[in-house]
Symmetry: C2
Subunit: 169 residues, 2 copies
């Protein structure tokens, strides 16, 4: 199964595409969509939507998974991030992908084994799961790959008849 | 000038289209795009995007104006609303419209004359500005029309060489 993970951001939106059976994961593509902070928000959202559409057209994933917006310390930042997230969900649904959402806690638990892992631990695990080509120097792309791995694991558990609560436990 | 005002909501997104020279305003169309609360957020955003695209295709506005998301008492509701707002900004930008944003305070100040007007005062003023056909029974459509009138007034002040600060004062 081919999965697109998306890590939303107003300046940098990370994307990561993997092929996975839920146990073994293969890196297909990963990168960052950048926007110009001087542009109006509508222009930046347009850039992000175009970038994500290009990724979907190039790699044809079957599923998309987006990280949930946490309660940021800065409410204004969280609201801007949520706008990007709305665009990511829309573009994925428009392309006919099955769309899921995962919290940062779920992603870390799925990749590292516990929900309070440091960024470096996530990057280390992503490299050991996906190999040396994993772009750990691009934190947003690496986070997006982690979201994709989380979704791959969840989808496998679901296909085995185990529900999300069981996965979380 | 033809202006589309959008009042974002996860359940009901209001839209209102007016023709205006910044002084006289003519009602073109107004209504509500509804989504099913049982649907996933991605599906609901897709429905809102389709609805807005239909409105833009049918009435060909030159500008769009979207109400800014306020700090809601409920942070989760504000984040959901911001996702809808991201979609409204994207769809407007994709259609090549000039996109602006106005706070609820600006909208009320522009329509009623002060920023803390009650909903009923806004509805009363919209009826006197746009005539008997104004759908005051559809609060979201009426709010969207108020956003459009606010943008029409701002655009006129701008064309007269007065900046936004002067309009606000």
């Amino acid at each position: 199964m081919r999965i697109l993970g998306i890590d939303c951001g107003t300046e940098r939106t990370g994307y990561g595409v993997i092929d996975s059976d839920g146990v073994r994961h293969l890196l297909v593509a990963a990168g960052t969509i950048r926007t110009n902070p001087r542009d109006a928000m509508a222009t930046r959202l347009l850039r992000i939507a175009q970038g994500l559409r290009e990724v979907i057209a190039a790699h044809a994933p079957q599923r998309a998974s987006v990280e949930e917006v946490f309660h940021a310390a800065n409410a204004q930042s969280a609201l801007k991030l949520a706008q990007v997230r709305g665009v990511a969900l829309l573009v994925s649904a428009e392309a006919g992908l099955a769309v899921s959402e995962h919290s940062a806690l779920e992603v870390k638990k799925s990749v590292v084994g516990h929900g309070h892992a440091a960024k470096e631990q996530v990057q280390f695990m992503m490299k050991s799961l996906l190999g040396e080509a994993t772009p750990v120097h691009l934190p947003d792309a690496c986070d997006a790959l982690a979201v994709a791995v989380c979704e791959a694991t969840r989808a496998r558990f679901e296909s085995l008849g185990l529900n999300k609560a069981a996965v979380r436990a």
